[in-house]
Amino acid sequence: MKPIQTITRLSMVCAVVLTLALQAGQVFAQGRGAYKVVVNSSISIGSISRDELSRVFLKKASKLHDGHSAMPVDLPASSGIRDAFSRDVHGKPTAAVEAYWQQQVFSGREVPPAEKSEAAALDFVRSNSNGIAYVSPAADTEGLKVINVTD
């Protein structure tokens, strides 16, 4: 009986660990590679760190590290791409980022970036020399610069 109990317990532990690992993997997969960051082609940078990207999209920094002004645009709060971006870059889900913006708005400090559909966000970045956005990996980014996100 005892070996069977041990095997049963080990199986349960393995199942739990496997489930957690799969969930972690899903979270990871949802973050990294689930979006790409695009900027107007006039912006010279080729990469940006997650910290800086977070500060730009939370409007704590108004300029990129090369001194170029940045005008970020968000996808709608219901967007899965935005949630992946939020988790990967801000370290929190979209709901928590929305809570942050509530505090910023109602303390009169800042308003969130405009929310646009993916197509509108791409158009915005194309037509605005300071534009920066994140879109799905499959999005047509012709005429835009895709920049690397680094740790």
């Binding site: 082609s41 002004s69 708005v105 109602f106 009169g108 308003v111 020399s129």
Partner: protein
């Protein structure tokens, strides 16, 4: 006359040549005489008003020599200008440095110019769009005895309503105007107020200047009073924000805020201000003391507002945004018209994630030689899923009043243990239920006229239930 005319032609020629240099960067002087001839031809229309444009008679040998001398001077001038331009251009190869026999290097056609960075030309600054935000709260509160506390009354209060609009407008790329207009209803009276109206100027990411009636940067909640989606119960902790004069809602004056430092994970932010404050105070002990000393048998219990002048204060916060951890210190001080200098200091910490909420704050307010308040709270919440969130709060406050009158201790102390359950419809709308057990009469006391003889008979503990909803847009 001819000599003068030719001198003018030479000057025109030189001027046109020099003006043309910037457009011909990288090009060298070609065949000297040929080039000059071409330029002279090109310059002719530009000097059409000059008589030199007219056909001239062949020059005499003297005139020819004079013209030759002028051309020499002009060439020297041009070479001098080119040398200066070469210096300005940096280490570009100079034709003088090339071997005399080598053909003058002609640079390859320049590649297409890379897109210019915006700040090299005209900086395109974002202008904050006009935006309207809003909030609304409604709550019902009922106490189990004659004491009133926060949102609750013995009869049950239905009209705890607070709704408002916040308007933000970008005036200039770095200048914004913000105003908040609110409608409040409670205890059978309503008020319409301009809660805040200020202009801010973001000089850079490190400093923003604000002026007007501005939300007071104190603690975790002074800037969000009335925004029910920010705090876990139907109202903010009373020990800090409910009449103890520790947390004040706004200042009138000028202030600065910004980022003090950033590291890879941490950031420090600051707020500073100078101006006037408003104390909203509920102080039954002081009212009782005054009534007794004045020989009255009745005391009227109600909240008081007192302006604080020549105030200054600030807040310093350290946060790790990705983890939701934040803590800091704050304080302010100013002159009370009746009681001299008044000051409040405090410290706070919070840990907010999508699932967990843990917040704590401590504050102390005092008027030297007269009265002081101390207050603290800790509150916690846990999101079981996207919708359900049980919450808990413990708060405590204590008052010290310098008076010869014997005041019952219960009027100098406050303790509230509360539990609640929230249902989040979405991150912008929440329905809340809470139950509070309050010990002490410092903030839980009947309002209006109170017979001093009945002081010791007042219930020292009060239970209150609240139900409410809040949303923002």
């Amino acid at each position: 006359m001819h000599a003068k005319t030719r001198f003018l032609v030479a000057i025109s020629l030189g001027t046109a040549f020099l003006l043309g240099i910037p457009g011909a960067i990288g090009q060298e002087v070609k065949k000297e005489t040929g080039a000059n001839t071409e330029i002279a031809n090109a310059a002719a229309p530009a000097s059409s008003n000059a008589p030199a444009a007219a056909p001239a008679a062949p020059p005499s040998p003297e005139e020819f020599n004079e013209l030759k001398e002028q051309m020499k001077q002009l060439r020297a001038l041009v070479q001098d200008q080119q040398a200066q331009l070469a210096k300005l251009r940096g280490p570009a190869p100079s034709s003088e440095a090339a071997p005399a026999t080598a053909p003058t290097p002609v640079p390859a056609p320049a590649p297409p110019a890379p897109p210019q960075v915006a700040q090299d030309t005209v900086e395109e600054q974002p202008i904050r769009p006009f935006k309207i935000g809003g909030f609304a709260n409604w709550a019902y509160g009922k106490t189990n005895n004659i004491n009133e506390y926060d949102l609750g009354t013995p009869q049950g209060r239905y009209d705890n309503i607070d709704m408002g609009l916040i308007l933000t407008l970008g005036v200039l790329p770095s200048v914004n105007a913000t105003a908040q207009v609110s409608f409040q209803s409670a205890d059978d009276h309503t008020e319409t107020d301009v809660d805040f109206a200020f202009v801010d100027w973001r000089i850079n990411d490190k400093i923003t200047i604000r002026g007007g009636q501005v939300k007071n940067p104190f603690g975790l909640y002074s800037e969000y009073l009335g925004i029910g989606t920010v705090y876990p119960f139907n109202d903010v902790p009373q020990s800090i924000y409910g009449g103890t004069t520790i947390g004040k809602e706004f200042y009138r004056g000028v202030g600065a805020s910004g980022t003090a430092f950033t590291t890879r994970k941490w950031e420090g932010t600051y707020d500073l201000f100078f101006g006037g404050l408003l104390n909203d105070e509920l102080n039954p002990a002081e009212l009782i003391s005054e009534a007794v000393q004045n020989g009255q048998s009745i005391v009227t219990i109600d909240g008081l507002s007192e302006p604080i002048r020549q105030a200054f204060g600030g807040r310093f916060t350290i946060a790790r945004p990705d983890s939701g951890l934040r803590f800091g210190i704050n304080g302010n001080s100013g002159m009370s018209p009746d009681k001299g200098r008044q000051a409040a200091v405090g410290a706070f910490a919070s840990y907010d994630t999508a699932k967990y909420l843990l917040r704590a704050e401590f504050g102390h307010a005092f008027e030297a030689g007269f009265v002081h308040f101390s207050g603290a709270y800790v509150e916690a919440g846990y999101k079981i899923d996207r919708h359900w969130q049980p919450v808990f709060r413990y708060e405590w406050a204590r008052q010290g009043l310098v008076t010869p009158v014997v005041i019952p201790d219960s009027f100098k102390s406050h303790r509230d243990i509360a539990g609640g359950l929230n249902y989040w419809v979405n991150p912008k709308a929440v329905i809340k239920f809470s139950y509070h057990h309050v010990d002490g009469n410092m903030l839980s006391v009947p309002r209006g006229d109170l017979d001093l003889a009945s002081l010791f008979a007042l219930p020292k503990t009060t239970d209150m239930a609240t139900f409410g909803l809040a949303f923002v847009f």
